[in-house]
């Protein structure tokens, strides 16, 4: 996905592309991905769909009178499964993007965005600390104004903010102190901690800098 151009005005596109790149990045750092939560959701969802399909076929072939009772049970079962599915998605996964282990270290990352706020919010839970780490960064840090994803500043942000990733990717974690080709000194200091109000202007200021 990273080589595809996206619309930088679509928050969905920004988030989905970044999510994909986040997972790719961690896999490339030889984190072993654990998909069990997604698998549970898929299983529940597909069982529900299969129940609906069977109901549909039975209704189509046998008619209403013959399938009345079965349909009643199917409707109840479907409602329960759908409830479980929704619960799992909102209460268990909570925007989970990547869960995996490297050696004895376990990391689980959930992402979210807020409406009309081009900032990427991450909740990082690691095995080493009990409190989840909340970090955020404007999308403009790793998206060009015409919608291309640039991996380097993104990976650097993760490597410097999350200890477990930093340990796995020493190169990017160390780059923070040195001069950088992609991100200017001012941006490095300013943007990662920028508040939501500031981040909206990110694109404009970037353009201004290029011209000067």
């Amino acid at each position: 996905m990273s080589d595809n151009k996206i619309s930088p005005h679509s928050l969905n596109d920004l988030k989905n592309t970044t999510d994909d790149c986040l997972a790719n990045y961690l896999r490339s750092l030889s984190f072993v991905q654990d998909n069990s939560k997604l698998d549970v959701r898929l299983a529940v969802g597909y069982v529900a769909v299969i129940i609906a399909t069977i109901t549909f076929v039975a209704d189509y072939k046998l008619g209403w009178e013959a399938t009345k009772l079965g349909t009643a049970f199917a409707v109840v079962a479907y409602a329960i499964l759908n409830g479980v599915y929704t619960y799992w998605m909102w209460m268990v996964e909570k925007g989970l993007v990547f869960e995996g282990t490297k050696g004895s270290k376990r990391v689980s990352i959930a992402s979210k965005t807020k409406k009309h706020d081009p900032t990427y919010y991450l909740t990082v839970t690691t095995s080493s600390s009990t409190n989840p780490l909340e970090i955020q960064c404007p999308f403009t840090t790793w998206f060009t104004s015409d919608g291309y994803f640039v991996a380097q500043p993104f990976q650097q942000w993760l490597a410097t903010s999350v200890g477990v990733i930093g340990e796995a990717d020493q190169k990017n974690a160390a780059k923070n102190e040195k001069e950088d080709l992609f991100v200017s000194e001012a941006e490095l200091n300013g943007t990662p901690s920028a508040s939501g109000a500031d981040s909206g202007k990110g694109k404009g200021t970037k353009r201004g800098k290029k011209k000067s």
Binding site: N4, K5, N35, R41, Y46, V49, A52, T55, A72
Partner: protein, 230 residues
């Protein structure tokens, strides 16, 4: 130039410019200039733009992880199956095979008109004279909505009904199957009308009278659900 003049109103030098422009068009891809609209031929630029867009969408879809693809397909399947199961749930709740019907004819005017949406209830089996019921004629699968004008039996004996459209001159004996002169409440009636929304059902009349609309709508829905990630 800006206000899109007709060609005949142009001055000679602009005609010249146009000629040069049109010879160019044969050799290279035509791109419309900003502030000027063309009145001949399709907008190729826009057309190719959409094509490029859909191909990138499809390639985005194929580059998904297998699990993500499965989740994406599941999203779409859940939309369809939830709609179907909601309908079936309503069927179970009302005990009617089709709890919502659309009036197709004017035989019940002025009570109901073509396109009205009717809500049915099939749990009160003791149907009274004056109630409006939807029934299926034996052997034909066409639901008809008419008013009960006479009832026979009831209690221990099976309830039988005679119906008539408010706007019809005669009762429904003509409409019933050959040899049938009344409806059996249990077998023939789909439900009694308990509520209606005027005119909303016209959409379904349009969809059933122009089947390609249905195909187009379904295709469009499928595309948007599959290609958009939430």
């Amino acid at each position: 130039m800006k206000s899109n003049p007709k060609w005949s109103e142009l001055r000679p030098e602009q005609h010249l410019a146009f000629n040069a422009y049109s010879t160019l068009r044969t050799t290279q891809v035509y791109t419309p200039r900003p502030g000027r609209t063309t009145q001949h031929g399709p907008d190729y630029n826009r057309l190719s733009g959409t094509l490029v867009n859909t191909t990138t969408m499809f390639s985005a879809l194929s580059s998904l992880q297998p699990r993500q693809l499965a989740a994406q397909v599941l999203n779409f399947a859940l939309v369809l199956s939830t709609a179907f199961m909601l309908w079936k749930g309503l069927s179970v709740f009302t005990a009617s095979s089709s709890p919502i019907v659309v009036v197709l004819s004017g035989s019940m005017e002025p009570a109901f008109e073509r396109g009205d949406l009717l809500f049915l209830w099939n749990r009160g089996m003791n149907t009274q004279v004056g109630e409006i019921v939807v029934y299926n004629v034996r052997g034909k699968d066409i639901p008809i909505v008419h008013r009960v004008i006479r009832r026979f039996g009831g209690g221990d004996a099976p309830l039988q009904l005679l119906t008539k459209g408010d706007n019809n001159a005669a009762d429904d004996t003509e409409l019933y199957a050959r040899g049938q002169s009344y409806l059996e409440r249990e077998k023939d009636v789909v439900g009694s009308v308990v509520g209606f929304v005027p005119f909303v059902g016209y959409v379904t009349i349009l969809l059933s009278e122009y089947p390609w609309l249905k195909t187009a709508m379904l295709g469009f829905m499928a595309l948007t659900v599959v290609l958009q990630r939430e």
